[in-house]
Amino acid sequence: MSANLGPQFEIEFERYELSAGLPYHFELGRREFLKVFGGGVAVVLIVPRAEAAQESGRRQRGFEESMPAEIGAWLHLSENGAVTVFTGKAEVGQNIRTSLTQAVAEELRAPLGSIQLVMADTEKTPFDMGTFGSRTTPQMNLQLRRVASACRDLVIALAAKGWNVDAKGLVAEDGEVRDPASGKALSYGELARGQALAKAVVAEDPLLPASAWTVAGKPLPKVNGEDFVTGRHIYTPDVKRPGMVYGKVLRPPSYGATLESLETSAAAAPNVIVARDGDFVGVTAPSEPQAEQALAKLEAKWKTVPGPSSRELFQYLKANAETGGRGGEPFETGSVEEALKSAEARLEQTYTVAYIQHAPLEPRAAVAEWSGGKLTVWTGTQRPFGVRLELAEAFRIPEDRVRVIVPDTGAAYGGKHTGDAAIEAARLAKAAGQPVKLVWTREEEFTWAYFRPAGVIEVRGGARADGTLTAWEFHNYNSGPSAIRTPYEVPNQRTEFHPARSPLRQGSYRALAATANHFARESSMDELAHALPHGGMDPLEFRLKNLKDERLRAVFQAAAEKFGWGKSQPAGGHGLGIAGGVEKNGYVATAAEVAIEDNNVRVVRVVTAFDCGAVINPDGLKNQIMGANIMGLGGALFEAIEFENGRVLNNRFSKYRVPRFRDVPAIEVVLLDRKDIPSAGAGETPIVGLAPAVGNAVFHASGTRLRSLPMVPNGLKA
């Protein structure tokens, strides 16, 4: 897929090419390490340049100026045995602080309690592209394992040297090295004492096979869980700095509006500062209520521009779509037209998906502080280094004058790639001459944060009477190219992504367009199965008949078995559906049972089978799969942004329905733990099966085919 998809897709691009080997060797900044760490053992992981430097050719750094760009992570073992691991990844609720700690404990063979992760702090941690694309587990987990295993070898070597024995006979376990022959033992801290070792490792060190894992692969509770159940954890909106004031931003009445005039005199009050910079207007005050009052007293005149509404959205996207160009070349094989002519069952349908909001419970927020020409910003983002660059560009200062710190964040779901709140807070802090906290309101979130793209998907398909697929044509307008290719065997195909001019600002969302594309594809497959002559074919049988991919077949079969597919008829008013697919090396199949009650759709039961290779933290993985299904319920059934003339009409939780306790079905998860296959990420892909499985079940129950996400924002119309 081309990276050249235009500005709104720039951040969606997230497939790197792994390349082996180092192009050259460089001097490790050993002195800098020891200055910072004051002794002990440090291990640095070198990431080949091609993998590290993918962000639009932008340079990247970590650890101020002294650190070379190729460092992916590092670990320090102090002289008292404390292990500190530095990674640029951010914790946004996916529990990677726990899974990464677990990976280090496993390879280092040190107690979990001795390991601390420093994450997503641009001054302390090495450069990282960002926490998205389900890359943490397949990539960072592996990298930290390498670093930790190298450190283990180092302490074993230190012990061997000290005892004058062969390292091969020594055992590392529970934070100490033992010599079974002599019974001697030394803790890692004792071994690190008086040392000043810094070692660089590349990707070749042998790792424990998944089958030999002891800690990893077992459920592990959140490592800093107690901070959360006691309210002690400091999220960005909880950060407090000396002399800090509160900021508010004046929002335009609609998208694209420009400021014509501003009268500020009514807002004047002691300690209230009004800042204007072009169309940006904001206030600061000693308390949030005072800032709100001052904001309300600003008299602004805006020049608005007309815009389309959500009622005509899909016509708009089709009318503003491109063919070729930014969308890349279509995938084409055989002749769809010829195959359709001779097909014995045909389908031609259009599916749509609405714009939706991520609506993380922690809104976008930032605390910004200028000191000695240097800017420090605390903010919840998935791209700390990206936000650092945004800040440097916004204020025309070098990146090394900007520090971005990401406290463990109240979720993101792909929605926190940009630094909007960070830039606003920093601008206000500059005007106020004091640190500023800015927390977006929920209404601001629903209007000014970027949206999951809406889209139109047109499908044509054809099959022979025996259920063999012969033709497949698939066009996605605007929503995105992820998982756009069918995993089924079809000799004649045409698949194309058409970028369009989006009326709303759009960006990443958990699983990207894989949700939309799977909804369209797996609904179409269901429709085709039912359209086959002689009363159709069982939808699962139809899929398996056209599927060679063993891993995908396996999850379909596992989900069907657990669900009891084909074993019994559902109760009256109930229906059953199944759907599945593959994305980012994760294989998923979801079966759903729905009940139609008073023209409402209630999802009763969901079974998801998932294969993401070797399972690292089954408990965390199950939590992610359940969460993905529940989040997916919202977009499947009722979430949609309504807008008109550049204004969002449903900008509150009272007007935008999200899944709640009573919406939640019984959810069962089947994990296919493939110890022989490297782990893939899992935070996203499990979401893609739910919507089509539910849609197919609604058809089974009612005979009504729902082709728009959300499917039943206003109930099921008779």
């Binding site: 946004v92 609720g93 996916q94 529990n95 459920p219 509770p221 959140k222 869980g225 107690e226 959360f228 159940v229 006691t230 309210g231 002690r232 954890h233 400091i234 999220y235 909106p237 909880d238 407090k240 509160y246 308390s287 949030e288 209520p289 609506a359 993380p360 419970l361 922690e362 809104p363 463990d408 964040t409 109240g410 979720a411 779901y413 927390v439 309101t441 929920r442 408990d619 965390g620 939590n623 992610q624 359940m626 969460g627 993905a628 299904n629 529940i630 989040m631 509150r652 939780f653 009272s654 999200v658 899944p659 709640r660 306790f661 009573r662 939640v664 959810i667």
Partner: protein
């Protein structure tokens, strides 16, 4: 507008200074440093700001501080007693009933109010009582499990 100068929070008298209409949430967070209660929506729709007012769950985001004065307020910071976690806090840890955990304080306090009036709730009663609290990460099944687990623990502790 009347000024409020004192609140009773977590068993202590806390001097404050706020107009009576100021949301309780703002006073707790910005004046008393009790940031366990979270802003999520400002309209009582998500439950992240839940605190207990005389043991009843209240959305502190749309409760004026004037209405809270004179009542006993419990925040998540005041739930653990004598350095020991409340059974609900322990149960949330044991069940892994969170992902990003931004909703957790509100969930635990709402559940504490439920178990006070209904020490042995059914699964369905838990869902109904908790329905005003949103977990965007979707950990609802584990939250239900944690609440039912805590109810069991609390019953055992009593007997």
């Amino acid at each position: 507008m009347a000024k409020i100068t004192e609140l009773q929070v977590n068993g202590a008298r806390c001097p404050i200074e706020a107009d009576e209409a100021t949301p309780l949430l703002v006073v707790l967070r910005d004046q008393l440093g009790l940031t366990g209660a979270k802003y999520g929506c400002g309209e009582g729709q998500c439950g992240a700001c839940t605190v207990l007012l005389d043991s009843n769950p209240r959305h502190s985001c749309n409760t004026p501080v004037g209405k809270a004065a004179g009542h006993s307020i419990t925040t998540i910071e005041g739930l653990a007693a004598n350095g020991r976690l409340h059974p609900l806090q322990q149960a949330f840890l044991d069940s892994g009933a969170f992902q990003c955990a931004y909703c957790t304080s509100g969930m635990i306090l709402t559940a504490a109010a439920l178990l006070r009036v209904n020490p042995h709730p059914s699964e369905d009663e838990v869902r109904r009582f908790m329905n005003g609290n949103v977990c965007r990460c979707g950990t609802y099944p584990r939250i239900v499990e944690a609440i039912l687990g805590a109810a069991e623990t609390m019953a055992k502790n009593k007997s």
